[in-house]
């Protein structure tokens, strides 16, 4: 059951009715748990065991860690002033080591499952090449189906364990409630990557039906369906035409294809987010925001603070921060001090942590070299812009460039082109193809420009839908930069508000692409 299907709408409608039934009020979280597992089962029942293992490991780990925190607290409370400070310190160190071991074991199991299922074939293939055992990659054990949403729920669980370990939150005592946190259906397939402290009270609390929640949820879902079914799915054939036959197209068409894909991917992914976040809002649970109009970003760094925000935030909080103050980072800083000028060497620990984060981000997306390149390229560009900041400022001053709307627009376009160029990595089938595309973009110039080279595989109807869709998309995004759309809408008269809803609805009913066979589902569901 895909979230852009009619069956999902029916599923949500039934769930909302059951969820708010007066007799159910106290058991709302159980309804959510059943719905989540049902949703998961409908999307691949054979993979249920993995999510269960992760849930149990996370639950046990969190309980043990919490136990350690509590006993430490109690010990300090009881022994403060009784035992010498040194002994208390030693006790703290002992507990810290125990917590470290527990966390490590849980992370190794959870991450191990992810690595085995998602990266097993890649690792075996490369190890096979290295040790001259090509048959390793053929072993069926490395070709098991990857469970739905494993990349997302694994990160959520690791985040939860680390939060409990650091005492940021208490662990959940009920295994089934932990299971709900891990499997909550709106975020299981493509995120957002939720945090336990934010979600727990919402997931396990009781919610009263409010018209506002329902209306807000419906608005979001409608907008999500529009982005996915009218814009993304209409653009998909054109993007596929270009990248399935990139050998037949010039560099300019490939560059355009990358830009089209950027828009398609944004409409696809953010459309999904709006659908699931709308659905969750109907249930009184607000999910974390995952997008903040990324195409308005003026730098790649800012883009990543606006795109897939929960993933960036996860890597920032659980990888970047700990790594940049780690012993390894300090060593890197010391070495850099000897080689680079002061300003750069001060940045060295951050640069080191950033490279690791971007490498991991690439690897998280897919087990392939091209995604690792993609991650590292992102990192290199951000690091370069960080290091060259004074030089850029100097150039700007010399060229008499003033901060203004035109400069901002230029920065946005520049960022858009950069992120589009980086799309050659996820778009290509192999790393070789990615490199061939880059070569074509920079070396194969167009001799003539025709409609076929600008919009290959695009019919009149598709073009109409995409243009109208993008105009609406742009207008709404500009409005959202100033204030949330639903707030703006709530101030409009009933006729205007409902007129807009109806136009969107009829647009979807008429021009939306129905059926996952035609669209192949969501782009980010593969990660």
């Amino acid at each position: 059951m895909n979230v852009n299907s009619f069956s999902f709408v029916v599923f949500v409608a039934i769930l909302v009715l059951v969820y708010y039934a007066p007799v159910i009020r106290k058991f709302q979280w159980i309804v959510l748990l059943v719905a989540s597992y049902l949703f998961y089962a409908l999307n691949g029942a054979e993979n249920m065991a993995y999510i269960m293992i992760t849930t149990v490991v996370t639950y046990l780990g969190a309980r043990l860690l919490d136990g350690k925190n509590v006993s430490q607290e109690q010990f300090i409370k009881e022994q403060k002033g009784v035992l010498p400070k040194q002994e208390i310190k030693e006790y703290k160190e002992k507990i810290k080591k125990q917590k470290y071991r527990i966390t490590l074991v849980c992370i190794v199991i959870n991450l191990g499952l992810l690595i085995f299922l998602k990266y097993g074939s890649f690792l075996a293939g490369n190890a096979g090449k290295l040790f001259n055992h090509k048959e390793w990659s053929e072993l069926s054990i490395f070709h098991l189906a990857v469970p739905l949403g494993i990349s997302y729920y694994t990160l959520m669980c690791i985040g939860y364990l680390l939060d409990v370990s650091k005492g940021k939150c208490r662990s959940e005592k009920n295994l089934l409630k932990t299971a709900l946190f891990v499997s909550y259906f709106p975020q299981i397939t493509q995120g957002p990557i939720g945090r336990f402290p934010d979600l727990a009270s919402q997931l396990f609390g009781t919610h009263k039906f409010t018209y506002e929640n329902l209306a807000y949820g419906c608005q979001k879902m409608l907008w999500g369906f529009f982005k996915k079914m009218v814009i993304a799915d209409r653009m998909k054939p054109m993007v596929d035409t270009i990248f399935d036959n990139y050998q037949n197209y010039g560099g300019f068409t490939i560059l355009l294809g990358c830009m089209y894909f950027s828009i398609q991917l944004y409409a696809d992914f953010s459309g999904y987010m709006d659908i699931v976040s709308g659905c969750s809002s109907m249930l009184g649970i607000r999910l974390a925001e995952n997008f903040r109009r990324p195409f308005f970003a003026k730098s790649l760094d800012e883009y990543w603070r606006r795109w897939h925000m929960t993933l960036s935030a996860w890597f920032r909080d659980y990888v970047f921060y700990p790594l940049s103050i780690s012993k390894a980072a300090v060593k890197v800083g010391r070495v850099a001090k000897k080689i680079f000028p002061m300003r750069i060497s001060k940045l060295a620990p951050s640069i080191f942590a950033m490279l690791v984060v971007w490498f991991c981000t690439g690897l998280w997306h897919d087990a392939s070299w091209r995604y690792m390149f993609w991650g590292l390229y992102n990192g290199v560009i951000i690091i370069a812009s960080m290091c060259l900041k004074p030089q850029f400022a100097w150039c700007k001053e010399k060229l008499l460039i003033k901060e203004g709307k035109i400069w901002k627009l230029f920065q946005m376009l520049r960022t858009f082109v950069i992120i589009s160029l980086l799309k050659v990595f996820p778009l290509a089938a192999t790393t070789g193809d990615s490199l061939a595309m880059i070569k074509k973009i920079f070396l194969s110039f167009p001799t003539e420009i025709s409609v076929a080279s600008l919009l290959p595989g695009m019919g009149v109807e598709d073009l109409f839908c995409v243009i109208v869709g993008l105009i609406i998309f742009m207008c709404i995004s500009l409005r959202q930069e100033k204030e949330p759309m639903h707030e703006w809408l709530s101030r409009r008269p009933f006729v205007v508000r409902w007129g807009m809803y109806m136009i969107l609805l009829l647009f979807i009913v008429s021009f939306g692409v129905f059926g996952t066979e035609a669209t192949g589902g969501f782009e980010y569901a593969q990660y």
């Binding site: 299907s5 009619f6 069956s7 029916v10 039906f209 409010t210 018209y211 329902l214 009149v460 109807e461 109409f464 409902w498 109806m502 609805l505 009829l506 009913v509 008429s510 021009f511 129905f514 059926g515 996952t516």
Partner: protein, 353 residues
């Protein structure tokens, strides 16, 4: 309570807008000469009179002429068969027609390939859905035969429009639908007044080896999907409960096709047994004594369907057999124990006519 009223009003508003919009889209985009519109119109004209109902797939739709059956039997029959008609839909269709017609006989053209299909394409389901006239039947079929994701396609004509920018055909539609002749019912489609039958004059040409050898999956009882068999049993039981005579008919296939078909005997045996078990009749015209002489290649439009000429011959035969059966004659004598194309002396080493 206030919330419920507020939500109720809004749902009604959405439904009203959707309804009006769909009507508008249908007016603009549904071809003024679309066959199904005229078939439904004609069926409504016969409401309360239909005694013999013809169902099944395209072979029945193109092969059985109700007019010929009516002349011979002095009955009123109607052909509701459609391309790749799914059996669960056929069941709903029979109930839909019998709801307001004194149906006495159902002639069901059997299609072995349908029996083995897990799922029929949405397009074909919609052809059956359009033939259902009562909203109850439509809803029941939606629940029973369509996945939830197929509902928008069934309910919203706008989801079926393939080209929203077909300006020429929209103009033509509006012009015709606005004309006085159309409103007075003077503009008709060529199949109107054919009682649901769609015939083609085309003749099967040449050997068409690629078509002939493009073998459908070979029929066997274990390949029959349980839900299809259940639907067929339901049809038989419904007919039996309502004193309706059910005749399963295997419509003739061209000789070339039969020769390439390794499983015609299996099909024959399977349906013979089914008919015996469920108190139905089974007339396999591919076992007809005169098959080779009556249904030569020029009686077919392609390797599956009879053409107009062939349909006339076949319907005559069917009506004659129906008449003789009811007058108590032994019609078993019209059939051989084996398919004429498989009679050993002719089949061995000689596959061409």
């Amino acid at each position: 309570m206030h919330n419920i009223r507020k939500i109720g009003i809004r749902i009604l508003l959405i439904l009203a807008v959707l309804f009006l919009y769909q009507r508008g889209v249908e007016y603009l985009y549904r071809p003024h000469n679309e066959t199904i519109t005229f078939i439904n119109k004609e069926r409504r004209e016969y409401d309360g009179e239909i005694e013999t109902l013809i169902c099944g797939t395209s072979t029945a739709q193109r092969g059985i002429d109700p007019e010929i059956i009516d002349k011979k039997m002095e009955t009123v029959s109607f052909n509701t068969a459609s391309s790749l008609q799914p059996l669960d839909g056929t069941y709903e269709l029979i109930k839909d027609v019998t709801r307001n017609n004194p149906v006495e006989t159902v002639i069901l053209g059997i299609a072995p390939d349908i029996m083995m299909k897990r799922e029929v394409d949405t397009k074909y389901k919609s052809r059956l859905y359009d033939r259902l006239q009562s909203p109850v039947s439509k809803f029941k079929y939606q629940l029973r035969g369509c996945s939830v994701d197929e509902w928008p396609y069934m309910m919203f004509y706008s989801a079926r429009v393939e080209d929203y920018f077909a300006g020429e055909s929209i103009r033509e539609n509006i012009n015709v639908k606005q004309s006085e002749e159309y409103k007075a019912g003077q503009i008709i489609e060529s199949n109107y007044k054919a009682k649901g039958m769609i015939a083609n004059k085309k003749k099967l040409k040449g050997e068409q080896p690629d078509v002939l050898t493009q073998g459908e999956s070979e029929f066997s009882a274990d390949k029959v999907k349980a839900h299809n068999l259940e639907s067929l049993v339901e049809i038989a039981e419904y007919c039996s409960d309502n004193q309706i005579e059910l005749i399963l008919v295997y419509i003739p296939l061209p000789g070339k096709k039969i020769q390439s078909y390794g499983d015609i005997t299996t099909i024959h045996d399977y349906f013979t047994e089914f008919a015996k078990k469920h108190d139905a009749l089974f007339w396999d015209f591919n076992y007809h004594k005169e098959l080779k002489t009556l249904f030569t290649n020029d009686k077919f439009e392609d390797t599956k369907h009879l053409n107009r000429n062939g349909a006339e011959v076949f319907s005559e035969q069917l009506a004659d057999m129906y008449y003789r059966y009811h007058t108590g004659e032994n019609i078993e004598e019209d059939f051989l124990d084996t398919c004429p194309y498989y009679v050993a002396s002719e089949a061995v080493g000689e596959k061409d006519e």
